[in-house]
């Protein structure tokens, strides 16, 4: 009987202790295995698109710029005096995986319309070891060729298409690599266009890399060997500076092309002497509310 009483008392004491013996909350992560982010610092790395997505309702605005070759030195201010190619582009995130964009390059006054879809995203715990995205584009050359005294090419003759699959992996905080099999198709690759390939089909591999050396400074590379048309590969080395979501990209590159079709179908300079200075300014805006 007495035992029972003590037993009851003990129970009650334990019970009241359970109620109050409560210190700090246990710290728990909301998402224990998130997607890897910042495989690249921006949706573009030098001239090539990457697996880096745009968020839903985000608008990415970019100015891309390449100058003349630097081999004439200071007389031409290392190519800045020479005709530049400028590309303006807007890309809008419909969802966290799907975006659509358009751009215009001054070289041949090419308008392009493209879409990216992020099929697979690399996971932090490596259960998914790489990210895979796909991109398609349609472009049209809008230059006026009346001055040649001939008929202007038709809309179809000015049209070209491009597709690529982007496979990328972020190896660690510093190093990311991407390989992208890509193909461009021209309806009618005419001599009057300012690219150099006479092939309708131009296939290439695109290699993109970044190495985050220190702080927020990142070194970037691109290498685009052509597989079909015998043109010299496009080679680029660059530097990304990130500042609170803005990314400023400077690079040296062996070609002036800024849109995908022309990157695959234009002759590139020899590494070392045919380099040009280029830069991209990237800004991302939000078009939705974040509440």
């Amino acid at each position: 009987m007495k035992n029972k009483k003590y037993y009851c008392l003990a129970l009650i004491l334990v019970f009241s202790m359970v109620q109050t013996s409560y210190a700090q909350l246990e710290r728990k992560l909301v998402n224990k295995n998130p997607d890897v982010e910042l495989t690249f610092e921006a949706p573009r790395n030098i001239n090539l698109l990457t697996v880096e997505p745009l968020g839903a309702n985000n608008l990415h605005w970019a100015i891309m710029h390449t100058f003349g070759t630097i081999d004439n030195g200071g007389q031409n201010l290392w190519g800045i005096d020479n005709g530049a190619n400028i590309r303006l582009s807007f890309e809008y995130g419909i969802s966290d995986r799907w975006s659509v964009g358009f751009g215009r390059s001054s070289l041949d006054k090419v308008y392009d319309f493209y879409t990216r879809y992020h099929i697979i995203k690399q996971k932090l715990d490596d259960s998914t070891p790489l990210s895979i995205s796909a991109m398609l584009n349609y472009a049209v050359n809008t230059s006026n060729y009346k001055f040649l005294g001939t008929e202007n090419p038709t809309f179809r003759q000015r049209s070209s298409y491009f597709g690529q699959i982007m496979l990328a992996r972020k190896f660690n905080k510093k190093l990311s690599l991407q390989i992208s099999p890509m193909v461009a198709y021209f309806e009618d690759p005419q001599d009057i266009f300012l690219n150099n390939s006479t092939e309708e089909i131009n296939a290439a591999l695109g290699f993109s890399g970044k190495y985050r050396a220190f702080g927020r400074s990142t070194f970037t590379v691109q290498f685009i060997p052509n597989l079909t048309n015998g043109l010299r590969p496009n080679v680029g080395i660059g530097y990304d500076l990130e500042a609170g979501g803005h990314v400023f990209q400077m690079y040296f590159v062996t070609g002036s092309s800024l849109n995908e079709q022309y990157l695959l179908s234009s002759q590139n300079g020899v590494v070392g002497e045919g380099f040009r200075l280029g830069f991209n300014v990237n800004r991302v805006f939000s078009l939705g509310s974040n509440e």
Binding site: L25, K28, E37, L54, G55, A243, G244, G245, V284, S286
Partner: protein, 183 residues
């Protein structure tokens, strides 16, 4: 013995007594960066909190990965370069209520200004902080907390973007709002 027991039980389950501990896992937190040319805010509704009136313990934390500013690339850079959430995933506050003696059922039902004093930690750097807030007990017996405080980036070794220094305010305003349930 029996009497004591009964008294104890009555005390335990007394309707008039305040509950001893209140808890939430879906409070909202907002930071506002007011820089001359750029104002933006970040929001999360994953604020976890505990207010234990019996022990006089206030304990709140937020998983910083859940904060969204509306621009996902900015969020990624914020997590990666500035808050470094892989190493320091939480912002936390643990402290005590300075004016705990003023707290009883009547004052809480009217709504009461409270001051919590304790350690605020973010980016692995701890700082002593006094946080002013307001507690109110609603008709459903839930405790509503509203508080505002400031976080200076340099106090916690959080870097600022250097290229466009005006992008981010040196001192961030933080607002929290939470409805805590009886534990």
């Amino acid at each position: 013995m029996k009497k004591i027991l009964i008294l104890f039980l009555i005390w335990c389950f007394s309707e008039n007594a305040l509950s001893q501990a209140y808890i939430t896992d879906d409070g909202s937190i907002k930071f506002i960066s007011r820089a001359p040319l750029n104002e933006f805010d970040g929001n999360s509704s994953y604020l976890n909190g505990l207010i234990d009136l019996d022990k006089n313990l206030v304990d709140f934390y937020i998983d910083l990965n859940t904060i969204k500013t509306g621009i996902s690339l900015r969020d990624s850079h914020m997590r990666d370069s500035y808050l470094e959430t892989n190493d320091y995933p939480y912002a936390e506050f643990t402290g005590t209520i300075e004016n705990i003696e003023q707290i009883n059922k009547q004052t809480l039902q009217r709504g009461l200004k409270v001051v919590a004093k304790g350690d605020f930690t973010i980016h692995g750097e701890k700082q002593q902080k006094e946080i002013n807030g307001r507690l109110k007990l609603n008709d459903e017996g839930k405790l509503i907390l509203e508080a505002k405080f400031k976080v200076a980036l340099k106090d916690h070794n959080i870097e600022k973007p250097s290229l466009l220094g005006y992008e981010l305010a040196d001192v961030q305003d933080v607002e929290i709002k939470a409805i805590l349930n009886e534990k």
